[in-house]
Symmetry: C2
C-alpha cells in the first residue's frame, strides 16, 4: 500500500516525551505504515530520531520536510517537521514537548494537517516549565479556544473496537467524585458526546448508556442517592432533548457482550469505572479521543513507559489504532 | 454419569425466594445433573416444585427424602428435604426462605451435607420478617458463629474461571468507601483469603493482588492519599507475615489477560471495582463464594430475577458453576 495512502493532508503526530516510548513508536508506526490508511508527519527533533533509529538498528530514513511535502515523503522516509527546540536529555526538553503539541494543532489550524495525534507526555516534567494543565486534554481545549471561535469543552473518550467509554470525572481522588458530579456536567458532556459521535463517527442516532455511581446504581436510594438526585434528572433532561439515553445502569452488569450491544458509548462517573472495562477488554487497542474540539485529536491510551523506553520493545498497537482512528475521523 | 456421582454426602441447596428464578434453576440443574460431579438435595417446598415442573412441562420427578437418602435418590429424582414452611405466594413465605438457609447450614453441621449452595433471595422481602442482615453472607457468618466454635468473619469472593475478586467493601454508597477502608480491614481480609485459597482451593502459595482506591493508584499521592496512608502499610504488614501480596495496583490495568496471570485473586476496594471486571469477563460463570466460614458455601452470582421467573428461560450456568465449585471445595 506504499504510495497508496489517502492523498489527503497528513496527520500531525507530536513526539511526546523524548525520553519515553513516543519516539520509538513513531519509528515503528512508519515501519508498519502499510497497515495505515493515511500518511502522518512527526513534530520532533530529527537528530534524536536518527540517533534512535541507528541505535535500535531499524531501517527508518528520517527526512526533514515542510508540512506540505510530508505526504510525498511518507512513502520513502519518515517525514519530520523539525521543532525549534532540539532535545538534549535535560529538563529543558519540556519546552520541545510543549512546542510539538502546539505546532501539531497549528498545522491543523493552517490546513496543513488533517488531525492531531499525540504521543504520551509526562505531566510532572512539564509543570516546572510553565505547563499549567492537568493533561493533554485540557491543554488542547485551551489551544482550541485560542485558535478557533467559540468556547470548546474537551471530553475524553476512550475508544476501542469492543467498547467506547467517557469518564465524567477523571484524574481526581475517588472521594472527590460524588461532589464533582452535577446535572450540568452530565448534560453538557452527553450533548458533546452525542454530537461528535454523529458528526465524526457517523453514527446517525448515537445510543448513550449512563452508569450509576453506587453499587447496583444505588438500588432505589438504599445504597447512595446520587442516582436519584443527579443522574436520573440528567437523563430525563437529555431524553427531553431527543437524545437516546438509557440509565442509570448498574456499572457491573453493563459491560458484558450482550449489554454492550445495546449502546454505542458508556458515560461513566469516574476514571476506573470507565477505564477498568475498556482496558480489561481491549488493553492494547484503546485509543484516547478528545471530543468537543474543533479538530480531530487521538492518542495512544498508555503513558511514557520510561522503564522500557529506548529498548525497541514497546507495543505500537495503540499508536497504530490512534493513527487509524484519526484517519477515519478526520475531515 | 447417572449413578456415577461422587459418593460423598450431597450438597445442600437452599431454594431461595420461591417467586424468583431459584426454583426453576433447581429443576434445571437436576436435568443437567450429568454435568455435575456431586449430587445435591434441595431445601424447599416439594409441592411448589412439583407444580412448577408440571407448569413448565419439565420431566423432573420430585422425591421427598431424609438427608441421608438424598444421594441415592439423586439418580432418579430431585431429592427434596421438605421445609416446615409451605410456600403460598404471600409475604409469609419469607419464613420459609430463611428456614431453607438455616437448615442447609444445619445439615452441614450435622454431617449430612458436604457444603451449602444458596439460591438468590430478595433481602427487602425478608426484612419485614425479622431478617436483620445486609445479605446472605452476613447471615451465614452469624449461623457459623452460633454453630461452630470461634469467631468467623465471612469474606465474599467472586470466582470465575478467568478471574477471582474480593471486594473489601460491598453494598455501601461509593462516598462511604474511603472512610470504611482501614489497615485492619485489609489485613484481616487478606489473611482469610490467603488461608482459604490454600486450604480450600489447594493453592499452595496464593498470590494476592491488591488494587489502589484512586485513579492510577493515587500516582504517588497526587490523586488521593489512601494508598499511602492505608493500603501500602497494609501490604507491608502482610508481606512481613510471609504472604505473597503485590500492590497497590492501578485498577484499570490489573485485569487484562497478561496482568491476571500474575495473581490468583484480586482484592479490590469497593463493589464495582471488583465486580466490573469479573462480570465483564465472565458474566454467566461467576460464582459467589463465602470464605472465612467453617463450611463451604457458594451461590450463583445473580439475583432473583423476578421479571423472568417462572418462564423457564433463566440461565442455569451460574448455579451449575456454583454446584461444581462447591463440590470441588467441599471436604
Amino acid at each position: 500500500m506504499d504510495g497508496a495512502h489517502d492523498p489527503r493532508r497528513p496527520l500531525a503526530l507530536s513526539i511526546g516525551d523524548p525520553a519515553g516510548i513516543g519516539p520509538e513508536l513513531a519509528l515503528k508506526a512508519w515501519l508498519l505504515r502499510k497497515a495505515l490508511p493515511q500518511s502522518f508527519l512527526v513534530l520532533a527533533d530529527p537528530a534524536q530520531l536518527r540517533a534512535l533509529a541507528a541505535d535500535l538498528g531499524w531501517n527508518v530514513p528520517i527526512e526533514e520536510t515542510a508540512p506540505a511535502g510530508a505526504a510525498a515523503v511518507f512513502a520513502r522516509a519518515l517525514p519530520v517537521v523539525p521543532l525549534q527546540h532540539r532535545f538534549d536529555g535535560t529538563s529543558a526538553d519540556a519546552a520541545g514537548v510543549i512546542e510539538a503539541i502546539e505546532r501539531a494543532v497549528e498545522l491543523v489550524h493552517q490546513g496543513e494537517a488533517s488531525g492531531v495525534v499525540t504521543n504520551p507526555i509526562a505531566k510532572d516534567r512539564l509543570y516546572a516549565h510553565g505547563f499549567a494543565f492537568p493533561g493533554h486534554t485540557e491543554f488542547l481545549g485551551d489551544l482550541a479556544n485560542k485558535g478557533w471561535p467559540g468556547a470548546h469543552q474537551p471530553v475524553m473518550l476512550i475508544w476501542s473496537p469492543t467498547l467506547a467509554v467517557v469518564p465524567l470525572t477523571i484524574h481526581v481522588p475517588l472521594k472527590e467524585v460524588p461532589r464533582l458530579l452535577s446535572q450540568d456536567l452530565i448534560v453538557k458532556t452527553a450533548r458533546i458526546v452525542a454530537r461528535d459521535l454523529k458528526a465524526r463517527f457517523g453514527i446517525v442516532r448515537p445510543r448513550l448508556a449512563i452508569s450509576g455511581l453506587n453499587p447496583h446504581a444505588g438500588e432505589g436510594g438504599s445504597m447512595g442517592r446520587e442516582e436519584i438526585e443527579t443522574i436520573i434528572p440528567s437523563i430525563a433532561h437529555l431524553r427531553a432533548e431527543g437524545l437516546d439515553v438509557r440509565g442509570p445502569l448498574p456499572a457491573d452488569t453493563m459491560f458484558h457482550a450482550a449489554a454492550r450491544a445495546r449502546y454505542d458509548v458508556a458515560l461513566c462517573m469516574y476514571h476506573d469505572q470507565a477505564l477498568i472495562p475498556v482496558k480489561t477488554l481491549a488493553f492494547d487497542e484503546g485509543v484516547n479521543v478528545t471530543l468537543g474540539l474543533p479538530f480531530v485529536r487521538t492518542s495512544p491510551d498508555h503513558g511514557t513507559a520510561f522503564d522500557i523506553a529506548g529498548k525497541g520493545i514497546a507495543n505500537p498497537a495503540s499508536l497504530m489504532a490512534a493513527l487509524a482512528l484519526a484517519a477515519r475521523l478526520a475531515p
